[in-house]
Symmetry: C2
Subunit: 421 residues, 2 copies
Amino acid sequence: MTDQTPNETFLADWAIHSRFGAVEGTNGVERQAASAADGEQRKWFAELLESHGFTVKRDAIGNQFGLLELVPGAPYVLTGSHMDSQPTAGRFDGAYGVMASAHACFRVADELRENPEKAKFNLAVVNWFNEEGSRFKPSMMGSSVFTDKLALEEALATEDPKGITVREALDEIGERGAAQVFGEEGLDVASYAEIHVQQGRSMEENGVTIGLVNATWAAHKYDFRVKGEQAHSGSALMADRRDALLGAARLVVAARELVDEFEPGALHTACGELTVYPNSPVVVASEVRLLLDLRSPSAEVIRGAHERLMAVIERVQRDDRVEIEIVAEHSWDQNPYQEEGVELAREVAESLGLTHDRVMTVAGHDSTNMKDLVPTVMLFVPSVDGVSHNLNEYTRDEDLVAGVEHLTGVIGRLAEGALVA
Amino acid sequence: MTDQTPNETFLADWAIHSRFGAVEGTNGVERQAASAADGEQRKWFAELLESHGFTVKRDAIGNQFGLLELVPGAPYVLTGSHMDSQPTAGRFDGAYGVMASAHACFRVADELRENPEKAKFNLAVVNWFNEEGSRFKPSMMGSSVFTDKLALEEALATEDPKGITVREALDEIGERGAAQVFGEEGLDVASYAEIHVQQGRSMEENGVTIGLVNATWAAHKYDFRVKGEQAHSGSALMADRRDALLGAARLVVAARELVDEFEPGALHTACGELTVYPNSPVVVASEVRLLLDLRSPSAEVIRGAHERLMAVIERVQRDDRVEIEIVAEHSWDQNPYQEEGVELAREVAESLGLTHDRVMTVAGHDSTNMKDLVPTVMLFVPSVDGVSHNLNEYTRDEDLVAGVEHLTGVIGRLAEGALVA
C-alpha cells in the first residue's frame, strides 16, 4: 500500500467502491436509495473513513457523515455528494463526488496534521441520502431535510412504489441515525464543496478539465393528472371515449414539439415517468399521472414554453374530452452560485495548471440546497459524450484524479478559512 | 322464500352475488382472477349450486363447474361465463352470465325432473377462470386451456405483475382442482350456451332485449416494445436523445388518428396498457412496452389500418431514433358463430315474445373458444349507454330477467338434443 501514490490509492478505492450494486455484464450500477447495495456500500465507506481517523455518524434522515476534529469546537468544512443511483445507471455521477471528497479530506487532513497552525475549521465528508429521487420522491431528500427545506417526518413517511417508507427502508439497512450530527444548536458548518461529473458534453468538447459551476438552469416541473373514464377498449364507440392515456400521450408529444419553437439548445423538455390506471389491455385508461419538465438557461424561454404548453392542455381537454389537472408544479429562475466560490475554484485550477471554464448545471445537486446556507463551491469533471443516468456513463481516470487534486486544493483553502468572513 | 317468483329469486341471488369485491361507495366491483374476492364468491357460488342438487368440481386451471346428472352417462349441455372482473369494473359483464346460467339450469332441471323422458343430455354450469386477463395474461385463460388452445403448464406458470403465478394464486384461494372434470376420455360436452351484457349501446338504442350474437369483429392486436436509451432527462441534448416514451406516445396518438381515415364506426383502436422503464422523473426512458389493438367488423379495414400503422412505425423509428419491435401479434378475420345456434336463439325469443336482433360482438368471449368444438349459442342483453369495464356499468332488472328466461328456453332445447346431430 505504502508505495502507491495518492492518486493510485484513490483509483484503487474507487474501483472497489464501484462494485457495490454492480449490474452484471455491464460497467454500471443499480444502487437506489436505502437498497441493500446502498447499505453495503455505506458500511464499506464507514470503514474507509474510520481507517483515516474520521468518526462516522448518521442523522435522522440517513445522511452519512465522516467527521475529523482538528480544531476543537470549531465549525466544519463539509464536502460530499451522494452514492445512491438511478435504476441501471452509471457508476460515476454523485458517487465519484463522495469518493473524491473523502480522498481530498484525507489529503488535507494529512497536511493539517503536519501544520496544525493553518487549520481554522474541522473537516467533514457527507454522503447525502436519496439525491436521485427515483425510489422515494422528492430528489435531494437528505440535503433538503438537512437544510430545513423539507420536514423530517414528511420525508420519513414517504413511500416507495411498493409502499415501503423511508423510515422502514433506512431501518432495514441500519442507517437511520440521531437527530443532529453537528451539535445541538443546529448547523455548525462553515462552508461546503461538491464535485460531480458533468451531465452534458460541453466540457469534453471544449477540452476543459475543471468546470466552475456558476448557476443552475431555470426550470418548470409539473406533476400532471389526466382524468378520463374507464370503458371497454374494444367495444366503446370512439366518440364516446375519454381516454386518459391518449391525453397523456398528446402531452408527451407536445413537450417534444415545443423544443422546435425555440433556438437549438434553448429548451430541454422531458417526461420520464408516466403511470397508467388501470393499465389493462382491454380497458380505456381512466387516469394517467405524468411528470413533465421544461428546462432552459433562460427564464424567459421557460415562460414562453409554459404558455404554449397550457394552450396545448386547453386543446387536449376540449378535443379528447379529458381533464388535465396540475397536481403540483415548481418553477425557478436561473439560480446562481456565489461568485466568490467560483473565483476560489478558478484560482485553485490556475495554481494547479488545470484547464477550467465556467459552466452551468442543468440538473440540481445537493449543493443547490447548501449554497443557500453557507459559502459553497460546485465543481464538475468531464463525462465522455455526456452520457448520464446510463450504464455506460464514463469519465477518464486522468479527469477523476485531476478532480480530486483540484477539490483537495479547494478544501485546503476552505479549511484555512477561505470564503468565511 | 317459497312465495318468491323464479325471477324474484334470481334477482335476490344476483344482489348477493354482486357484493363480492364491491368497491366501497360505488355500484361496481373489483374481483380480478384468483383474488380473495374471487375466492369468496366461488365458495358462495358452490354452495348455491349444491343447494340445487349440483355437484361442484374444479379442473386443473380453476374453471369451476356445477354438474347435474339427469341421464346417467350422457354428455352435458354446458352453460356459463366468468365471474372475474377488470380493476374497478362493473358488477354485470360476465358475472351476470354465470348467474343467469345457474338459474336457467335450476329451472330446466326442475322441468326435466318432472318430465325425465324429455332429457337427452345432462346439465353443467361453468364459471370460467380468468376471462378478463387483467391480472394474468392472456385473457380467456380458463376456456383456452379447457379447449386445448393453451397448454395447462404454460397457463399455471403465468405470473401477475407481482410475480405470483396462476398456480400459486389458485392454491391460495383453494381453487386449483383435478385435471379432468368431464371423464377421462376428455371433453364430454354436447353443446354450449353463454349470455353476457352487450359491451356497446346498439341494442339499447334499437330497443332490442335479446341479442343473437352471430359473429366477432375482426382484429389485429400488437404487443410492442419501443427501445431507446437511458439518459439524464434534464441535461442530455435533445438531439442526442433516443426517448422510448416519446416513441410510444407517438404510437398511442397515431392509433387514435388512424380511426379518422375510415368511415365512422368502421375502426376501433386502443392502447390500454403501457409500461415505462426505468420510469424515473429524471431519466429518459430506455424501454416502453405497450399493447395496441385494431378492431373492425371488416378484415379489409384491419388490413388497411395495419399498413398505415406500419408506415407510422417506420417514420417514428427514423425521426425519433428508437427501435420498435413487434414482440407478438395476433390477427383474425370476422369470426362467425354457427348459424344454427343463432336460429335456435331467434326461435326461443319469438316464442317468448322478446324483441331480438342479430348483433356482432366486438370483444371475444369464452364462447369464442367453445364454438370451435361444439354447437354454441351466444346471447346479449342490453347495457345502459353501453358502459363497460367501468364501475357505473348498468343493466335494468327487466332485461336481466328477460335474459334468464330466454337462456332457460335455449338450455331447455339443448338439453332435449337441439343442435346436436
